[in-house]
């Protein structure tokens, strides 16, 4: 599913996007055939708006956070625009890989990305900032099962079960679980019955809550945040295992971003905790703020990544 928020400097289009986003839930209940032309209708103006008069800063967003709140994303964009004094364009894509590809092709200046694709593409990317979650630039991967499942104590109990991953390029939603299995001489394909990707952490929770999957790997930060905003959803899942702490998905810059831009964005992110609006946005994000961080935060992920890639056929 592609949802793009752009800064065309055109309030009409922005309004239309807001409306489209807000009506998404309502649309779900309607006939599906309505969805396709609708999506097309606002996928087209996106390209037209990518070359506005003043070049906007292009920031890619991935489902490392709650990426479905169009209204919030718009507010955050406007906040950053004010901070940077420059138009900001958020680009959302359905998978990490698409964002990574855009970064590598320098079609994006920045992106909020998982640590796993970051360490894999370290040569081409620069670390900008790391979010502070519970006052640490760290997060965990949760192994969750449906709340109705009272037996499962560990991953080993999920053999032959159906398992939901979030994204193949996600650390918490894929790499960590795969790493654990490979270390035991297994692989997701051999160990589980059926595995599938939901392309979003939140949807892993939904898949497990509905019973479609008997287990799932999910970003602990997303689960915790959902537990605050949608407790009835997370209550239908149970956390079986919490991983060790890893570096939180960071903001990274592509080669297209200049040093000034990096510094400006860094400053804008750091200062969020200082002003009222920024604090409110951080509160919605369930974050404490941003820090510069360093590459060592992602050493464990890099280690797992190397290990897993060696074992992959």
């Amino acid at each position: 599913m592609e949802v793009a928020v752009v800064n065309p400097g055109d309030p009409l289009k922005a309004n239309r996007l807001r409306r489209s986003g807000a009506s998404r839930n309502a649309l779900r209940a309607n006939l599906l055939r309505l969805l396709l032309p609708l999506l097309l209708s606002f996928a087209l103006p996106l390209h037209a708006a990518e070359q506005p008069a003043t070049t906007p800063i292009r920031i890619g967003l991935t489902p490392v956070f709650l990426d479905y709140q169009a209204n919030f994303v718009n507010e955050w964009r406007q906040h950053l625009e004010r901070q940077l004094g420059q138009p900001v364009s958020f680009v959302q894509r359905g998978s990490y890989r698409e964002i990574v590809n855009l970064l590598r092709e320098q079609k994006l200046d920045f992106a909020w990305l998982c640590g796993y694709p970051y360490v894999r593409n370290k040569d081409e990317l620069r670390l900008v900032a790391v979010p502070l979650y519970q006052n640490e630039p760290l997060y965990q991967s949760y192994l969750i099962v449906p709340a109705t499942d009272k037996q499962t104590r560990s991953l080993a109990d999920l053999r032959w079960k159906n398992f939901a991953f979030s994204d193949p390029d996600s650390n918490s939603g894929h790499l960590y679980t795969e790493y654990l299995l490979i270390r035991q001489g297994e692989s997701p394909g051999s160990f589980f019955g059926k595995t599938f990707f939901t392309w979003s952490h939140r949807k892993v929770v939904e898949a497990v809550a509905s019973g479609l999957a008997q287990g799932g790997a999910v970003d602990g930060y997303v689960w915790d945040t959902l537990a605050l905003s949608h407790p009835q959803l997370t209550a239908r899942t149970r956390i079986v295992n919490r991983s060790p702490k890893f570096g939180h998905p960071p903001f990274v810059a592509s080669r297209a971003a200049t040093e000034q831009q990096i510094a400006a964005l860094r400053q804008a992110l750091f200062s969020m905790a200082q002003d009222e609006e920024g604090s409110r946005l951080l509160q919605t994000l369930n974050l404490n703020g941003f820090v510069q961080g360093d590459d060592h935060l992602f050493d464990e992920i890099e280690e797992m990544s190397r290990f897993v890639e060696k074992q992959r056929p």
Binding site: N25, R28, A29, L31, L32, R33, P146, T148, N162, A164, G193, K194, F196, F197, T198, W199, K203, E206, A207, A209, S210, G211, L212, A213, Q214, H230, Q232, L233, R236
Partner: protein
């Protein structure tokens, strides 16, 4: 048990009308309800099929890409919001089967987990899977497994004309059945309302149809022992068959009555004739020795012993014999005597003759006698008839009563009517009225031969005599034929 065919039309016709109305209503309602339910079902399946096809089309791509989550999201769209996880209980479930007919995704993942054989979970799927269309077919199969509360739609998910999976949508029949019941309930209510109007109307019509027949049948039943009075018959005067029947019945009744009257008249006149012959016979037998006896007494009185005792005895015998002779003569009415025609002087004489009786009883006597010239009717006999009738009338009427005499010509007859307003003649006595020694007078005065004589005279003159009597008036009517040719 009473047979229906013995039932009175009073109930039979309304019952039949009611049965017809109810039958029609039930058949009509059932047909409409059946059609309604069929339409409802067709609509349901049509809508479900249309939705299923949209879903199946949308599923092609995620299934080709083995995207379980997208497929799950798509089939869940019509059913629930994933946040609350509340499935609509009435919505049934949707299943995606892959090519090998194991579960690919379902809206009830806990019941139908991925990769399981649906038939091992729900035995109805055994039957369902047999109904699967072949791999090239794009048609929807609608399956209603036996002993199932659900209806299933099997829609192929196709890519490039080949089936890559099957969308199975289950629909519980309960809402459909509920709506059907609603339909039936409404229809029944309307039918009852219509019947509530139609039934009384039908029963009323049936009743009206039966009514004249019932009257007719009642009248026929009452024909014995006495013919019913025509005036009391309420028979419909219409031109339809019942009306015609009624008219025919009335006609028949009138003819019967006439025949009965005729019969009674014949019987009465036969009896009177027999009595007349008997009386004449006896009179003749008596008259012969009587004449001899009277002659002998007369001779004896002229030639025999003249002592007073004998003469006195002879006189007693003679008076007795004369009385016998008079009585016999009275019985033996002889109308042979020729006399002059009846004229106005006769009427005047009659008035004079009865004057004393009229005055003594203070009766209002009126006379309406416009006969004009002399009428060729024997005046002696006519006078006798009129005087006898008038004396009877004067006797029968109360003091200050009315007696009326009317004489006129009509159709070659001299008609004499004598009426009075006194005590009337009971019907049972009318039949014997003209027989000798029938007296209506309680005191026994009179000979009881007055009407007998009148009857004999009228008979011998070839006329008619009739009597009508009710509380208001007693009227004797005598018709004497005018002897125009014989009198000349």
């Amino acid at each position: 048990m009473m047979h229906f065919k013995n039932l009175s039309l009073r109930y039979k016709i309304p019952l039949r009308v009611a049965v017809l109305a109810i039958g029609t209503a039930v058949v009509l309602t059932s047909t409409l309800v059946y059609r309604g339910i069929e339409d409802l079902r067709a609509n349901l399946i049509d809508n479900a099929d249309r939705m299923g096809r949209v879903i199946a089309n949308t599923l092609t791509e995620p299934m080709l890409h083995d995207d379980v989550w997208r497929s799950f999201e798509i089939i869940n769209t019509p059913f629930r919001s994933p946040e609350t996880g509340k499935t609509g209980q009435e919505a049934g479930h949707i299943l995606i089967l892959n090519v090998s007919n194991t579960i690919y995704a379902s809206t009830q993942p806990e019941r139908f987990p991925i990769l399981k054989d649906p038939a091992s979970i729900d035995p109805r799927y055994d039957e369902l899977l047999k109904a699967l269309p072949d791999f090239q077919s794009s048609g929807t199969a609608v399956v209603e497994p036996r002993k199932s509360d659900d209806l299933f739609l099997l829609i192929p998910i196709q890519s490039d004309g080949l089936r890559i999976g099957t969308l199975v949508m289950s629909y519980p029949k309960s809402p459909f059945i509920e709506r059907s019941y609603g339909l039936i309930r409404d229809a029944a209510l309307i039918t009852l309302l219509v019947l509530a109007v139609l039934l009384p109307l039908g029963v009323y019509w049936g009743h009206r149809m039966a009514e004249p027949l019932l009257h007719l049948s009642g009248a026929m039943r009452n024909m014995a022992p006495q013919l019913p009075d025509l005036d009391n018959l309420r028979i419909e005067e219409s031109s339809d068959e019942i009306g015609q029947l009624g008219k025919a019945f009335k006609r028949m009744l009138a003819e019967l009555r006439e025949k009965e009257q005729l019969q009674q008249q014949v019987i009465a006149s036969d009896r009177l004739a027999a009595i007349g012959r008997l009386a004449a016979g006896i009179a003749h037998e008596i008259n012969n020795p009587l004449g001899g006896m009277l002659n002998a007494i007369s001779t004896f009185k002229r030639h025999g012993a003249q002592d007073a005792f004998t003469l006195k005895t002879m006189s007693i015998l003679e008076r007795g014999l004369i009385q016998i002779k008079e009585t016999v003569a009275a019985l033996l009415v002889e109308a042979k005597a020729r006399s002059r025609p009846f004229d106005r002087d006769d009427i005047e004489d009659i008035r004079t003759l009865i004057q004393a009786d009229v005055q003594s009883k203070r009766v209002n006597f009126s006379c309406e006698c416009d006969i004009g010239d002399a009428q060729p009717v024997p005046s002696t006999l006519a006078r006798q008839v009129i005087i006898n009738l008038l004396l009877n009338a004067l006797h029968a009427t109360q003091p200050h009563g009315h007696v009326h005499l009317r004489i006129h010509r009509e159709d070659g007859n001299l008609v004499i009517e004598v009426s009075n307003d006194g005590s009337y003649i009971p019907p049972e006595k009318v039949a014997f009225l003209f027989e000798p020694f029938t007296s209506l007078k309680e005191t026994g005065s009179g000979t009881g031969l007055g009407l007998w004589v009148i009857y004999q005279i009228v008979q011998q003159l070839g006329g008619l005599i009739a009597v009508q009597s009710d509380e208001h008036e007693t009227r004797f009517t005598v018709q004497l034929p005018l002897q125009e040719n014989t009198g000349a």
